[in-house]
Amino acid sequence: MREISANTITEAVARLCVEANTHLGEDALSKLESARERETSPLGQQVLGQLLENARLAREESMPLCQDCGTVVVFLELGQDAHVVGGNLRAAIEEGVRRGYRQGYFRGSIVRQPFTARQNTGDNTPPVIHTEIVPGDKLRIVLLPKGGGGENMSRLAMLTPAQGRQRIIETVVKAVEDAGGNPCPPTIVGVGIGGTADKAMLLAKVALLRPVGSPSGDPETAELEAELLERINRLGIGPLGFGGITTALAVHVETYPCHIAALPVAVNLQCHSARVAEAVV
């Protein structure tokens, strides 16, 4: 049994909060760069250039890429032979978020009571935490500060088996079309197919953790991703909705087995500021 101190986890989470909010990954940057080269709309091209410039400034000045520093979504893969000592795992993560957001001068965007008082917690806690127990003795932490604009455009459709692949495509394309300029396109479109309602939604979010534009390892799923991206980029929405051929940078699809009666499809949109950071402790 390997011991991992709660304090190590807190420090890692704080560091990941700062890194994710100020450093756009090379994967997203190179996709934005190639989109700028391909974009046929002059205004769209100009906007893509401004987004790249913004990412450069954020990194150089350690400023948050976006004023919406998101809900902190934390994905934990906890090795079954690891043992957290010196504190409570959840409290350690919350403290990491609190420290990281204070240190980075990031916005607190979380309200405690969602439907009446809506009092801001002030430190962007609590995060949303998904934990999976896996083989091994390490803890992998993947952190996704998820902006509200993209998250609000999420969609869940409980399709029937007869509706099949074609209706999946229509559902995803419609979700992106209805979202228009709201989720800050060009987006990364996360799609979850299968499982249950909750599982499909989680798959759609997990899909966003892949390097931007990396295809699924399953050829049939990769083919669906390519077809969806092609269809979405025909919509004409373009960067920030200002018109163009770059509405999405990538479509990532994750699948899971499902019930004989079911075909759940979930869509979770990630804005162009695809902020993901990870650490193993």
Binding site: Q67, D68, R107, G108
Partner: protein, 188 residues
């Protein structure tokens, strides 16, 4: 594409001259307000004497933004736009009270688009997700009201060469619809 330099608050003749798709560079004063502040503004307008309004919104411009905290020595933190459609339920009432322009991101409801025409007001969009870039166009920021709302407080911002695109003009045109139609390629 030529960029027009305009001063906020916008004069009536300036508003009349602008059309959907025009790129503008805004200097002057805009007020930062988003969800929670809008709820309070509309509640204040419901009072018979409107005494609760924290600033005279007649002719003014509201920028839908909740910035990050300013670092020591800085004017403001990252300050890009938030999704405008969340303010749709409140906007017609504010336009009726004299608001002349709003700046945000994403499209507006049919009710807001109608109200923009009726009250001769503009809706503009700026560079969403470019919070650092836009923060550099803000020269001064001061608290006007609702400080307890934290990032949702109303601020008075002095901007210089702040970039935006006219989305909805006073003649009923919608740049998002026009641009989409221009670049859409139906599946073969």
């Amino acid at each position: 594409m030529a960029t027009l330099n305009i001063v906020s608050p916008f004069a009536e003749d300036v508003v009349a001259r602008l059309h959907a798709g025009d790129q503008v560079s805004i200097s002057g004063v805009v007020y930062a307000a988003r969800d929670a502040a809008h709820k309070r503004l509309v509640e204040a307008l419901a009072h018979p004497d409107k005494s609760g309004l924290p600033f005279d919104i007649r002719g003014q411009t509201i920028y839908y933004v909740g910035p990050t905290p300013a670092k020591p020595g800085e004017v403001i933190g990252s300050a890009g736009p938030t999704t405008s459609s969340r303010m749709d339920p409140y906007t017609p009432r504010l336009l009726e009270a004299g608001l002349r322009a709003t700046i945000g991101k994403g499209g507006r409801s049919a009710a807001v688009r109608e109200a923009l025409v009726r009250h001769k007001a503009l809706y503009l969009a700026t560079i969403a997700g470019a919070g650092v870039l836009l923060s550099r166009r803000i020269r001064r920021a001061e608290l006007v009201a609702y400080g307890e709302l934290g990032p949702e407080a109303i601020l008075r911002l002095e901007v210089e060469d702040f970039p935006a695109i006219v989305i909805n003009d006073i003649y009923g045109a919608d740049w998002f619809q026009m641009a989409k139609a221009q670049y859409a390629r139906p599946a073969s």
